[in-house]
């Protein structure tokens, strides 16, 4: 099995550990993720509010590269890239938008028909690989650890894909297969604020406080995430949140691929665990015990 792989900008900067752990887990399962040469930004956030067409065309250029190489499926880690790339594919197939897309892409000598299936790595692990295969290679079940599954808002938006857009459950299943105790979590798909953190920090901090709060209320030892933006906001802003809301959160936030990798016995280095911020060590310590 092999898939074309789109890392997205974050996986080369703030979420190198997501990139590393994803590759490690897929490799342990015997699946090749083939990197794309010459990929570009998916066009999310800033560009999309300035010029929606250009932002869509940016994504479509990536899809054009995948089509050119003859791959059918593109594996994506970031929820935001996932949402953009999926929409770009739809736009290329939709007769109302296709002509505009074609002409923008023509200016960079690219053609995109929207044939590529854009799939999130969570979707691939649950629906292509299947939980049975994952269960089979678990060496160190993460028993006794409670985890809050946080999916982020874009996994099922603008339209539901492989899971319910309001209350998805596929990651819950995956995490329990590796021995984790998945706590009920209402705020699974509540927005983390994404780049609002840079423009309207007050609002974004409040959104993240609510998510952290529920994870603590539910008695979770940590939060599993599957999007670099969610990770950044929930993890790196805890001290700011603590200051603003007079709280004392010290919640470990890990990528779900890191948790799977640990259970599979993949080394700390390969999963990027050494890149941890302070809180993460709490959970890692519990694992090693």
């Amino acid at each position: 099995m092999r898939y074309a792989y789109y890392p997205g900008c974050s996986n080369h900067s703030s979420s190198i550990d997501y990139d590393e752990s994803t590759k490690a887990v897929f490799s342990a399962l015997g699946i090749r993720l083939i990197g794309l040469d010459d990929w570009n930004c998916c066009g999310t956030t800033a560009v999309s509010s300035v010029d929606p067409l250009v932002s869509m065309a940016l994504s479509a250029r990536n899809l054009a590269l995948v089509e050119n190489h003859g791959y059918e499926t593109l594996a994506v880690t970031c929820n935001s890239c996932y949402s953009m790339l999926r929409r770009a594919g739809d736009y290329c197939r939709d007769s109302a938008f296709a002509p505009a897309m074609t002409s923008v892409l023509a200016s960079v000598n690219r053609v995109c028909q929207g044939r590529v299936a854009v799939r999130h790595v969570l979707d691939l692990l649950v629906n292509d690989v299947g939980v049975a295969k994952i269960r089979a290679i678990v060496r160190y079940p993460l028993n006794g650890i409670k985890i809050a599954p946080y999916y982020g808002c874009l996994i099922g938006r603008p339209k539901a894909s492989f899971d319910d857009s309001e209350f998805p459950t596929s990651m819950d299943e995956l995490l329990s297969v590796v021995g984790l105790e998945v706590v009920p979590f209402d705020r699974k798909t509540k927005c983390c604020g994404s780049t609002l953190m840079t423009s309207k920090e007050d609002v974004a901090l409040a959104l993240n406080e609510e998510i952290l709060n529920e994870s603590v209320q539910r008695g979770a030892d940590g939060i599993a995430v599957l999007c670099p933006m969610c990770h950044l906001n929930l993890d790196a802003y805890q001290s700011k949140i603590n200051k603003k809301f007079k709280t004392s959160y010290n919640v470990p936030v890990l990528y779900f691929t890191q948790l799977l990798g640990m259970a599979m016995g993949i080394g700390e280095k390969d999963l990027g665990l050494f890149r941890a911020t302070g809180a993460r060590h709490k959970l890692l310590k519990k694992v090693s015990v």
Binding site: D164, E166, F167, P184, D186, R187, Q217
Partner: protein, 648 residues
């Protein structure tokens, strides 16, 4: 065809046609066409003066073919056929050119519209010389009526038909009649108890000598045509012999199996042998074979041992009845939207999120809590939110308004206020209280101190041990979070999950929302595209009780006016076989959707049953030897028409 004399009449239809089509120009053009003796235009051709004009011309100018260019033949073809007949012509020596729906209403440019109108008129003029005089026939019919569905609409229809002295067979899928209404506690706006007003009607059904009741039965097959339907009814094995059972209830007291009760919307339990609810008609139990221990592993048999009259019969089998009917009334009802489909409302996840129908059972004196409104932990709720439009007015689920839930929500809010003395919040988009006494009822509920928040309940979450409803309060222009103990989801009224299958059995069409389609949205609300099959109640669309009752009675009137005539008219527009041309290949036999074609094994040619044939033309199109033709739609007629349309 030198003796053909055509009169052409072009209608203005007020401004409907004249706004786009240069009507007098079309009439002038028509006057120049071959065979046309006279061509005129008129404000309203369907009016008495318009018709008189045609009659006068027929008499004075010896016209023998008439073309009217006006609206759709679906509107006024019968009008003009009658007009021709009263002037001594055959009604089929007439053709209508549709220059309204097909032309003026759908064309922007006046010149283009006029050109199109001319083409349509020319085509009609070219067609009429080939028209032949055709005659409608009448056939005998059966005077019995079949009513399918024993909810309030079906009950009303059955009682009204039976009151005329005609025979009715009422078929209900469930073990008891009563339908959804039997599950309601109170009815708006009068707050009288649903069971109290429904039960007398249910009993009246069981006591009426003209009504034969088949509960726990379904329609398997419908054959035949208006006046002469042949219907196969499957009486599912009840496992209890109705004539022996006295309804003493000893059997289910001893039954060891407990399963969630459908009637109690999953809140209470019932036994495997059970009577669905206390007022059930017939008040005799049924064994649910899917959960009964005896049927699962052959052990048990307690109910058979307990029954003092030996009525329990495990060996009973389904029974198939084939009966004849003149008319059929379909009143198969509706179901509530499953709120679990919208995970944002927390139904099925939080203990104290209930659907409206569950609350109906909670507040009901014979319900699982004997009428007490309590939370799962037994406490009485101090604050309750009622969320309107769950599944309705929402493009993710149903775009339509379910009509009855606003009033039902108000009723439930009032009951909750009275029973709990707590705070009750209604989250609504708009309050739709159109109905007699409905707005007054809304005012009363407001005066009783129920809170109204204009904003749809977007989601329900749990926070600090309480349910929190989130909504945008559009009056305040603010986002609100209201903590409550209990949430009620006022779910949409939707087409039943088996509506597609039922529609197929009866040959009924469905509208985009899944409900059964009426013949005309305003003027034929109870008829369907199939003659002799009528619809009533919520199977056609969401309705409250008064409307369902009115439709049930209306459908009865439709059936009775058919039966009272004693004969059914058969259209002459049917397929005919030219036995000399028929090669006997039998291709047409399986193609006929109405099973109207048979094969004559002696003469080895196809034969058409004119009573069954609908004149659809499928056979004629498929016949390789051109032996099949449709009267009034012959090849000559259609080709002449097409040639002219393309020529202008």
């Amino acid at each position: 065809m030198s003796d053909i004399k055509v009169g052409v009449y072009v209608c203005h239809c007020g401004t409907n046609i004249a706004d786009r089509v240069y009507v007098s120009g079309v009439a002038e053009f028509a006057g120049s066409l071959p065979n046309v003796v006279v061509a005129r235009d008129n404000q309203y051709m369907c009016s008495d003066p318009g018709q008189e004009m045609i009659k006068k011309d027929i008499k004075e100018m010896n016209l023998n073919r008439i073309v009217v260019a006006a609206c759709s033949p679906r509107m006024h073809e019968p009008t003009f056929r009658k007009c021709l007949e009263s002037a001594g012509l055959n009604g089929y020596q007439f053709e209508m050119a549709n220059i309204r729906e097909h032309c003026s209403w759908v064309t922007e440019d006046a010149e283009e519209a006029t050109e199109k109108a001319k083409a349509l008129v020319a085509a009609a003029v070219a067609r009429v010389p080939y028209h032949e005089a055709l005659y409608e026939r009448f056939t005998d019919m059966c005077s019995r009526t079949l009513v399918v569905g024993g909810g309030i609409a079906g009950i009303e229809a059955a009682l009204k038909v039976a009151a005329s002295g005609n025979q009715v067979v009422l078929v209900e899928k469930e073990p008891s009649i009563g339908g959804n209404m039997a599950r309601w506690d109170k009815t708006f706006p009068t707050m009288d108890c649903a069971a109290c007003i429904l039960a007398p009607k249910m009993v009246a059904v069981s006591q009426n000598d003209n009504i034969t009741l088949h509960t726990y039965s379904e329609i398997e097959k419908v054959e035949g045509f208006v006046g002469n339907f042949k219907v196969t009814i499957r009486k599912k094995a009840r496992s209890v012999e109705m004539d022996k059972c006295t309804g003493c209830c000893l059997c289910y007291g001893k039954c060891p199996v407990k399963v969630p009760s459908e009637f109690e919307a999953g809140l209470g339990t019932r036994k495997a042998i059970y009577i669905p609810f206390p007022q059930a008609v017939p008040n005799k139990p049924v064994i649910d074979r899917a959960t009964c221990t005896y049927f699962k592993n052959g052990k048990c048999g307690v109910c058979r041992k307990t029954c003092p009259t030996g009525a329990v019969n495990y060996e009973q089998e389904d029974e198939l009845l084939v009966e004849e009917f003149g008319a059929i009334i379909v009143a198969t009802g509706w179901q509530t939207f499953d709120p679990a489909l919208g995970s944002q409302w927390g139904y099925g996840r939080y203990d104290n999120v209930y659907s409206a129908i569950q609350l109906e059972r909670l507040v009901n004196a014979s319900g699982p809590t004997k009428g007490k409104v309590v939370m799962k932990d037994g406490r009485s709720p101090k604050s309750i939110a009622v969320l309107h439009c769950i599944g309705s007015r929402d493009k993710n689920y149903h775009e339509y308004c379910s009509r009855l839930c606003c009033m039902s929500s108000l009723k439930l809010a009032l009951l909750l206020k009275e029973k709990t003395k707590g705070e009750v919040y209604n989250f609504y988009i708009d309050i739709r209280s159109a109905g007699k006494g409905y707005e007054e009822f809304y005012n009363r509920v407001m005066e009783e101190g129920v809170h109204f928040i204009k904003g749809k309940g977007a989601e329900v979450i749990e926070k600090n041990g309480k349910l929190v409803v989130r909504a945008e309060d559009v009056f305040l222009g603010k986002y609100r979070e209201v903590p409550v103990d209990m949430v009620i989801l006022s779910t949409a009224c939707e087409a039943r999950s088996d509506a597609a299958r039922v529609a197929q059995v009866f040959g009924i069409q469905r509208s985009r929302d899944g409900f059964f389609l009426e013949a005309h949205p305003k003027l034929e609300p109870l008829r369907t595209a199939t003659e002799g099959i009528y619809i009533a109640g919520c199977c056609q669309g969401p309705k409250d009780i008064p409307d369902s009752v009115a439709q049930g009675a209306g459908a009865a009137a439709e059936a009775l006016s058919l039966i009272a005539a004693g004969k059914v008219k058969i259209s002459p527009v049917v397929a005919v076989v030219d036995a000399n041309k028929c090669a006997g290949c039998k291709i047409c036999l399986p193609l006929c959707a109405y099973k109207a074609i048979s094969f004559d094994s002696i003469s080895k040619v196809a034969a058409v049953n004119e009573a069954l044939c609908k004149g659809c033309g499928t056979c004629a199109a498929s016949c390789a030897s051109k032996a099949l033709n449709i009267k009034h739609f012959t090849d000559e007629q259609i080709l002449a028409q097409i040639k002219e349309v393309l020529a202008v």
